[in-house]
Amino acid sequence: MQEGMKNGCAGAPAVLLERISTLLAEGTVARVLGWKAGDMAYNPEPAYFETQEALKDFVYDGFCGANLSKYMIEASKLEGKTLVCLKPCDTYSFNQLLKEHRVDREKAYIIGVGCGGKLDVEQIRRKGIKGIQSIDGAQLVWEESDPGTELKGIGDDVLTIRTIYGEKTLPYGEALLERCHVCKGKEHRVYDELIGQSRDTKDADRFAQVERIEAMSPEEKFAFFQQELSKCIRCNACRNVCPACSCRKCVFDSNKFDSSQKANADSFEEKMFHIIRAFHVAGRCTDCGECSRVCPQGIPLHLFNRKFIKDINELYGTYQAGENAEDKMPLTSFDFGDAEPGIVGERG
């Protein structure tokens, strides 16, 4: 049963809520890291819940797209276990953080939640739907907790959006985040238990966008990125949300490279920032897509990360960060026969 609507936001599937409630009650976990309703129907906020009483505000619906793995860095420092709901793609990030000793597996109780793709309000807006008041159809219907069953295809569900201009409808599949169209798969890489069903959302090639850019002339490439990067306001949202950008202090905030700047003092800065940020996470980025999701300017930041991933796959063998917590990362290993940097020019 769905709880009542909170700020137009759907509640959470009963099977999930019951299980979380039990785990909290029996003391298996000290707190729950989940979501509560935000001020709008489409922006639930990550939140901690420490009592069963508090769980009445717990929300888990199609808009809960945030990757909570990064929160586990801080949660690992707390007393007792923290329950966290991770989608399949989030578990890659958790594994990567585990590999980098940033999270404590013992401090986490991971519920691998089923995923049928997460919603992106920007996609809805792009369809010309404005003035949203509430959205129906974003709630998750998990009949029973059998993670093995797959839900029907995404084409079947429809979002009904009540706006100040009247009611609109949109197929669920058309409102998905970019990353869901290039989904890495619905298998959880690390978890304590699984709840809920998944359905496949992949309907595009992960590297198609990168390839399109690669095929451009240098002038076109330059124009494309100049266009995109000129939007950057250095709000640091991409950095703050990125599970790989988990440095205690970012190089752009320290004086170690004479690179700390509060405002963009010179024209070079955003470029340097984005290239270096992508480089720092190269080989560690799981391609979770959070950077692009949170960018208020809509810069497709994942295109940087995915370029590195594509290069790594092509030059050093296929590698998926976070697939497990053991494999050596591509930038901390090498092969005697690696390609020379000159290959960049040769590939054209």
């Binding site: 240098p218 990067l229 690179s259 470029k271 290239i275 480089f279 940097p341 020019g345």
Partner: protein
């Protein structure tokens, strides 16, 4: 002979202490000339070169950056140049992806005995930078469009 154009490129060459810096020394003691536009920075190993240094050079107006290290397999620290090779390959590929002319960056393995190669490489590189002209793109990539 004055150059055809008045363009005086700024070129930074990072050289590892054990092979390439010594190769540059040998070029010097063999009186093998290359343009004065090239300025060498000594680093212990090619793996010491952070991509940030390269971008920093461009930020400050360099027109080309070249990294020289020991040949793969000959690194004084055994494996440093292998890491450098991967890092630079990825960085250069990214710059290419951003539409920056990839001739502005280069990696060359120069041993302590390869004074001739060092000088040749620098001559070639300077010529390449001359053909590319002043570095505008890296400086301009972000520029807010009016």
């Amino acid at each position: 002979m004055p150059m055809k154009d008045e363009f005086k490129p700024k070129i930074v060459a990072f050289c590892c202490n054990w092979c390439s810096y010594a190769g540059a020394d040998l070029a010097g003691s063999s009186r093998l000339t290359y343009p004065a536009d090239v300025k060498i920075i000594r680093v212990p190993c090619s793996c010491r070169v952070n991509p940030m240094f390269i971008l920093r050079a461009f930020e400050k107006g360099a027109d080309g950056v070249i990294l020289c290290g020991c040949h793969p397999g000959d690194c004084h620290y055994s494996t440093g140049n292998y890491y450098a090779r991967r890092r630079m390959t990825l960085l250069f590929s990214m710059l290419d992806y951003l539409g920056v002319e990839n001739g502005r960056t280069r990696v060359e393995w120069v041993s302590a005995a390869e004074g001739v190669k060092f000088s040749q490489t620098m001559n070639e590189f300077v010529e390449k930078i001359h053909s590319l002209g002043k570095n505008v793109r890296l400086e301009d990539l972000r520029c807010r469009k009016e």
